[in-house]
């Protein structure tokens, strides 16, 4: 029991009737299938726009639209399927986990285990395997994170090491010994698929570059701006998810692309609740939660502004987004780490 840290509603002091939680957690294939169909339609439309715009300047906005539609939902779908909540039918869930994780650039088994660590040890330094940067965040970390360079630097050697069966201590920490062979074969399968796509390109066919590689690179920063604001500037090493995690408002497009995960505190409190029920979950617990932060753009602009000022040793109070008290420093002061409730 020594290592047990309950990062859930109970440890955050949030209460909700068990019957309602179960009702909200009910599974169905329908919402996941509808989402997938809508995603495919958007991909077809924006992909056609890219195809028609090739050779003109119009390819830039078309690629931006297609890249966003390809990359953000692939992250969101991979996340939802790692929880096993996107569909009721298991094989549908696992199939979409593979497809979306390949696009997102993370081996699916590793995806699932590292994300489990994130839910057990949300935003706990040295324990949360999906805490990708040191906090408080500086400009260099922001750049590495948002461009996707950090993800690439982290994931590429991980693929190779896991494929060779040379698992790092960190991977061993959150993966049960009996499951390591799956990580090895999963990494090999992913590398084989990536290798096949490279072979297609070498054979003179450019479609993997135009429809997968470039859009994935273009859409990466938008995906990473969504994930960045989930926990940045929030309190590390606390059991209260309301202090470590941020929910934010966003428009219908943001909610669609991100599969309602802007309700992020709610998701951490009750990870059993599937994406399509998160708005209902929000209604049920909102009187126990802080107000969500302003929209995706404004939250990101304020985060960037704070990060920039921190690097310049200027005051770091954001105009309106939530920040842990120790994130706010006076001009010239260095932010202090404060740990709270970390056992």
């Amino acid at each position: 029991m020594a290592d047990y840290i309950a990062t859930n509603a109970a440890s955050s002091g949030v209460k909700l009737d068990k019957k309602l939680v179960k009702q909200l957690s009910r599974r169905s294939d329908r919402p996941g299938l509808i989402y997938t169909a809508q995603w495919l339609v958007l991909l077809a439309l924006t992909g056609t726009a890219v195809w028609m715009a090739l050779g003109t300047w119009w390819v830039i906005p078309a690629m931006l639209a297609y890249g966003t539609v390809l990359t953000v939902p692939s992250y969101s779908m991979s996340h939802e399927c790692a929880h096993g909540t996107a569909f009721r039918t298991r094989w549908l869930n696992e199939t979409m986990l593979w497809i979306s994780s390949l696009l997102y650039f993370e081996e699916p088994y590793h995806r699932r285990f590292s994300h489990a660590s994130h839910h057990t040890y949300t935003w706990m330094e040295g324990k949360d395997s999906q805490m990708p940067f040191d906090t408080p965040m500086g400009l260099k970390e922001w750049f590495l994170e948002v461009t996707g360079i950090g993800l690439f630097i982290y994931e590429s050697p991980l693929y190779i090491r896991n494929a060779l069966g040379r698992f790092s201590d960190e991977v061993r920490r959150y993966t049960p010994e009996s499951e390591l062979p799956k990580l090895k074969w999963g990494a090999r399968a992913c590398l084989a698929i990536y290798g096949s796509l490279a072979a297609v390109v070498l054979a003179g066919y450019w479609w993997p570059v135009i429809f997968i590689l470039i859009p994935r690179l273009v859409g990466g920063p938008i995906m990473l701006l969504f994930t960045l604001i989930q926990h940045v500037e929030m309190q590390e090493n606390t059991l209260d998810l309301r202090d470590s995690t941020r929910s934010f408002r966003t428009n219908w497009l943001g909610r669609f692309l991100y599969m309602n995960m802007n309700n992020h505190i709610e998701h951490h409190l009750y990870p059993m609740v599937p994406f399509h029920q998160l708005p209902e979950l929000n209604k049920a617990v909102k009187d126990q939660l802080p107000e969500p932060d302003p929209g995706f753009f404004r939250t990101n602009i304020e985060v960037f502004w704070v990060v920039l000022k921190r690097s310049l040793r200027l005051g770091t109070k954001a105009p309106s987004i939530r920040q842990a008290p120790h994130m706010i420093a006076e001009r010239g002061a260095k932010a202090e780490r404060i740990t709270k409730g970390y056992v």
Partner: protein, 105 residues
């Protein structure tokens, strides 16, 4: 086989497709009402320490609330990552309106 039958609860105490927690003699159990009958397992998930009483019963499967790992309730078999170690099961007997568990396993 040793036996130690203990009354866990009344049949009415567990809703259909639901699970409750029963603590006895320093051990914690999960008692289920599934479409195929009443069952009992160890009360904690085998992945990390998490009470299964807060889990979701879907047909004959219990889904853990923390990482959504799944077990087949009648056999305790681990059915979906991140769980990979089976759950210990306990014999159950329904006597009138009462549910008994053989806590000796």
């Amino acid at each position: 086989m040793s036996e130690n039958w203990v009354r866990a609860c009344a049949t009415d105490d567990i809703d259909e497709e639901d699970v409750i927690r029963f603590d006895h003699d320093g051990q914690t159990f999960a008692v289920y009402n599934t479409p195929s009958g009443f069952y009992a397992t160890h009360g904690m998930c085998t992945h990390e320490e998490q009470h299964l009483e807060d889990g979701l019963v879907i047909d004959d499967v219990i889904e853990c609330p923390l990482h959504q790992g799944r077990f087949h309730i009648p056999t305790g078999e681990a059915k979906g990552a991140p769980v990979c170690v089976n759950l210990k099961t306990y014999p159950v007997r329904v006597d009138g309106e009462d549910i008994y568990i053989n806590t000796a396993g």
